[in-house]
Symmetry: C2
Subunit: 201 residues, 2 copies
């Protein structure tokens, strides 16, 4: 069986693979996202390009070590009323983001890039889930911020945890909204790399 | 803080509370679901009545023990093209159910009943999530059945685990599709029982 390297430090993405019983290794990339954000203003294009950059970074760094590994990279971006929203870097930024999402509908877009160490093939895709937030009081938002669950998450929330109370409805893939559309990953691996996740689960 | 008794043996529902950091006790009910299924043909009504029966069963059994506890009961039912689908009791039944869901859209309905040991108030509600299954091959279905994840789950699948590969799209609450709409539970507790889950998270 080929090794899978998940080019992400997201615990939510790691958990998706764990729950599916798929063994992975993780690799933390060091891509300057700011450069991409300045250059690319379309959210789907940005998510895809960031996922691609993470996949290629990982490929370069791992080249000599893992001859037979599949690399899966992802990047999640939130778009709310035309504005691209990433992660918060302090409590006030988290408040601003959640206050913006409150009572509104946003798109949660995850770019996916899959390649192999010894294969020039690189497949790039994305998935979008529509998320409807309830109207939140300032008190609700600050209570949530104090849980620290906003840290490191695009849009300053994770649907898997306490922020599930904030979400009225989603339309789309439920794994995408956690951080990676497992259904898309499954199909890309099966159709493009001849690798069936079902054989290992 | 009041104790919460979850009248369910579902590990998925228990996990929803765990992930939210809400401590609960669980209680396994013994309600004859067959009687209800014969009598009630409307799926939302059936899910609500079963949740109610589980809540009242728990209340009766726990009466002397837990004077101040809140009881949360739930029952999940799947409706696919007018047919009510419950749990499978063997591999062949699981196959039949998943084969029926394959390539089709179904409603996942969870009835919710919330009461307190020493309070005659009983609030009953339900939530419906629309789930679109991909077209599955017989081989995919049997591979899934061999994981045993179908056991004890309405519709013979859990979206949290490997069956996430089967699901193209959901429309509705993502916690409802796991087994309990946490958003609805939060609102009922807050508005009807003066109990704010956020105070304890």
């Amino acid at each position: 069986m080929k090794k899978i390297i998940l080019a992400s430090k997201s615990l939510d993405r790691k958990e998706l693979f764990r729950r599916m019983g798929i063994p992975i290794e993780t690799f933390t990339t060091n891509v300057d996202e700011g450069i991409y954000k300045k250059r690319i203003k379309k959210p789907i294009k940005l998510a895809k390009e960031l996922a691609k950059a993470k996949a290629l970074y990982t490929k370069k760094k791992q080249l000599k070590k893992d001859g037979d590994a599949i690399i899966i990279a992802a990047d999640t971006i939130i778009e709310c009323e035309g504005e691209i929203i990433g992660k918060a870097y302090n409590e006030n930024e988290a408040f601003e983001i959640l206050n913006k999402l409150s009572g509104r509908t946003h798109n949660l877009i995850t770019g996916i890039a899959i390649t192999e160490i010894n294969n020039s093939k690189l497949i790039i895709d994305s998935d979008t889930t529509i998320v409807e937030f309830l109207e939140l009081s300032q008190k609700d938002i600050w209570s949530y911020i104090k849980t620290n669950e906003w840290i490191g998450r695009a849009g300053a929330y994770s649907i898997m945890d306490k922020a599930s109370l904030f979400i009225n409805k989603i339309i789309g893939s439920s794994s995408n909204v956690i951080g990676l559309s497992m259904n898309k990953v499954y199909n890309i691996l099966k159709n493009e790399f001849g690798f069936n996740l079902f054989q290992i689960i």
